[in-house]
Subunit: 344 residues, 3 copies
């Protein structure tokens, strides 16, 4: 296994699950998601306990799903509440596996692991997605690569120069020095660029002229998220790596949810604390970000194919890769600890 | 292996094999089928004994096939009758594996197993396909699922309510009680619905008004057929589950021929004893049946994929599944007996 | 392994490699090929030593390639000459595997095996491709079959009668007797057809009337080439199997380069010593040859699929197959010797 269990993963954007059942495989398990009439989210194994037909092919009846094959009806608690022959008594042992879900930060999260440990407090604190004074939007890509390759990618922004040479790439990124800090279950890779000319986008966001201090702080959060804190403040306004609410600030948020060992669901978005009521800006930023991440998707899928085509080769890690290396260490340690716990 | 050996399987509709060689894989073995000039059917391994090019790519010469690669010519007895260099003496050991075929009930049957046991008397007795006073027609689908899933499907008509909700499905089927009887190498699942209003199709077929007794009797026949006896008779005419030639009667016939462990050839049709000269009715019934069975194909292929996507789950069997369960027991027992025989 | 190591294989036509990097898998290894500014050819593992992205996706900078992912720059010697962070000192151990190449006979050859044994003198002597008084052109096909099936095909021209029945096939080929001679690392299959009427193509090539002697000499050259010497001379002009420069002569040249165990690169062409300045004839011959070899490709890919679909069957060898059998023996012996050497 390449992913952490007993953890929350993003299953969908909030608007990505509605009354109509939808199927999505999470951490190797086919699941069906739909909303009850009260809009709370149900997640179940996407296979009827009778003959395994996907429940997502079934028909909603109130908060239940009736299987399209023989009509076994499963309630949102996973338990059968009507047998194929409706006159037959309901067998209490007939049930679909259910999964704990929780909605936060505009996403539907699903708990992978032992249900009784599913504590919403363990959902990563992605405050920019749901804090007053901030706005947030984004999108989704299916990416045919190991989700850890996407984490590597996001924890090392030097790739922007080459992968995104037509858009956000710039050589300055290569010149600023980086610092990598691993603490507990998180890793930070940070760049501080003091007293520079603001790039056009950030000058406009800031709404002021003059030299700026600029920052980029990539943060990995267990089990599989990356937040990138980016922005500028006027030089002299007192901004620092530790505290920088003096200027225009954005948060790139990225959630990598394993589908299989070689594919994953990629949820991406951007939060910001400037011009938050400018819906046109929100739409333009989402479109641009979608274009940028499509470039990453192309590169990462080529990388996955290359890994498979060169089985005698191993990934190397240079100084720029330290963030990804540390993130992978956290993942590997958590997997190992869980296995040790199981063995006891 | 998931199928019975030393048994007859349907290879094709009678009109599906002609002078032109056609390829079809039966029980894992690629075969070529064609008719001799006297119209008897030849079945051989679809691989030239020389360099394995499919013989179905070859050229008919009289009753022989000349391989398209180097021209080795194989007679309908499987023996080479001309070498690639025509002047070379024919090597008597050069031959293609042949298979025993037999035509009956409008189908070409092929014997899988030891040739000397290929007794046409072992072909299942599907009398409605070839009895005076009856007419019969049908079609073919390739279905990407284990052939036993189709047997399960046909031995349990409760699925009609949901899978065929737009056509033949009706809730009454769920209300009638069923009885399952296994005897020797056959299984019956039967429903008797006395004194009901005839559905429009059957009222027209019967040509008389008044309450009717209606029946549905699914019969599994070893190794892989299902016949479904359906119809209505006027209440009081003396019809019973055991004998019901008093009214309008149809026989749905289904032959499942394994191609691989996860795919099969599905031959289906319908025989009837009413309005047998009405070619328009025959065409309409075939078209409707084709639509209904296409719905089954969709469901069963989704079920096969779900079985593969949920390797930790098993099919469950409820009361409605008893017919399929019994049929699978007959298949499993025959496979086991054959293996025991081989081991002795 | 099904191919000989420590040998030269054709990687590309000379015009098939230019400044733009191109990817091609040779003997199971993904490689990138490109020309230095001085037009010499570079061959490297097509995977960046950093994170394995194909170097063929990278950007040429002088004679180096900069990886499209993080900008590691690899020189034509395979060594990194700039790190992703340009200010970082170059790590001398960072390098891509390189391969020895050599250009001869209008092809780019690549050495598979131990580099220090890569002697250009070991390139097969395909003199008609680069001899004064001869002209040469041809094409390329990707063929989804074991490269040895193509060798079998070329060493036995009886297939022309059936595979190429619409073009070059003729029954006379089946009537002439063949002789197979294996000597050292080469195999010859030869036909001598004395005193016959010249076919139209050859009569025109010869430019003279009268009975001719015609020859076909297929030669296998280790590790994976076949040259076919074809032509006619006026009867009485003194031509023989051993020496036949008296008439019009062509050389079909074929290079089979393994891609994987079940696929190969097929380079084909034709050299001739008549009308060598007739560019229209060259183009017509190439077009015809391309059509003929496309027929072989269809047959061989069907043969490969049939081999996989009939795992219980083996290829048989008749008298006509002796050339291919001998060629395969040379290949198998060389593989075995190399393994024995490795074991010592």
């Amino acid at each position: 296994m390449t992913w952490i269990e007993n953890a929350w993963y993003v299953a969908a954007w909030d608007a990505g699950v509605d009354f109509e059942p939808v199927s999505r495989t999470i951490c190797g398990v086919p699941m069906v998601f739909y909303r009850r009439l009260d809009r709370s989210v149900v997640a179940m194994r996407d296979a009827c306990p009778h003959r395994l037909l996907p429940l997502s092919m079934g028909i909603r009846e109130g908060d239940s799903i009736r299987c399209k094959y023989h009509g076994l009806r499963i309630g949102p608690d996973g338990k059968a509440n009507e047998m194929p022959l409706r006159s037959d008594p309901v067998n209490a042992r007939v049930c679909a596996e259910t999964f704990v879900t929780h909605e936060r930060h505009r996403f539907v999260w699903v708990w992978i692991g032992e249900k009784d440990k599913a504590d919403p407090a363990l959902i990563p604190d992605l405050w920019p997605c749901s804090t007053e004074g901030w706005t947030f939007d984004g999108g989704y890509y299916h990416v045919a690569c190991d989700y850890r390759l996407m984490i590597d990618n996001l924890m090392d922004l030097t790739h922007e120069t080459y992968v995104h040479s037509g858009s956000i790439g710039q050589l300055e990124i290569l010149e600023a020095d980086i610092e990598t800090i691993a603490e507990n279950d998180s890793v930070f890779v940070q760049r501080w660029m003091p007293g520079i000319d603001a790039p056009p986008f950030w000058r406009q966001a800031l709404g002021k002229d003059g030299p700026v201090d600029r920052w980029q702080i990539c943060q990995f959060l267990k089990p599989a998220s990356v937040m990138i804190d980016v922005g500028v403040a006027l030089t002299g306004a007192g901004a620092s790596l530790a505290s920088h609410d003096q200027g225009a600030r954005g948060m790139v948020v990225d959630f990598m949810t394993p589908e299989t060992e070689n594919t994953h669901h990629y949820f991406w978005g951007m939060a910001r604390n400037f011009n938050i009521h400018d819906a046109g800006l929100t739409a333009r930023m989402k479109k641009q970000q979608g274009g940028v991440f499509a470039e990453d998707k192309d590169i990462l899928e080529a990388q996955q194919r290359a890994i498979e085509a060169n089985p005698d080769m191993r990934l190397s890690a240079y100084r720029i890769d330290e963030g990804g290396v540390r993130a992978r260490q956290i993942i590997a340690r958590a997997i190992k600890n869980a296995q040790a716990e199981l063995a006891n």
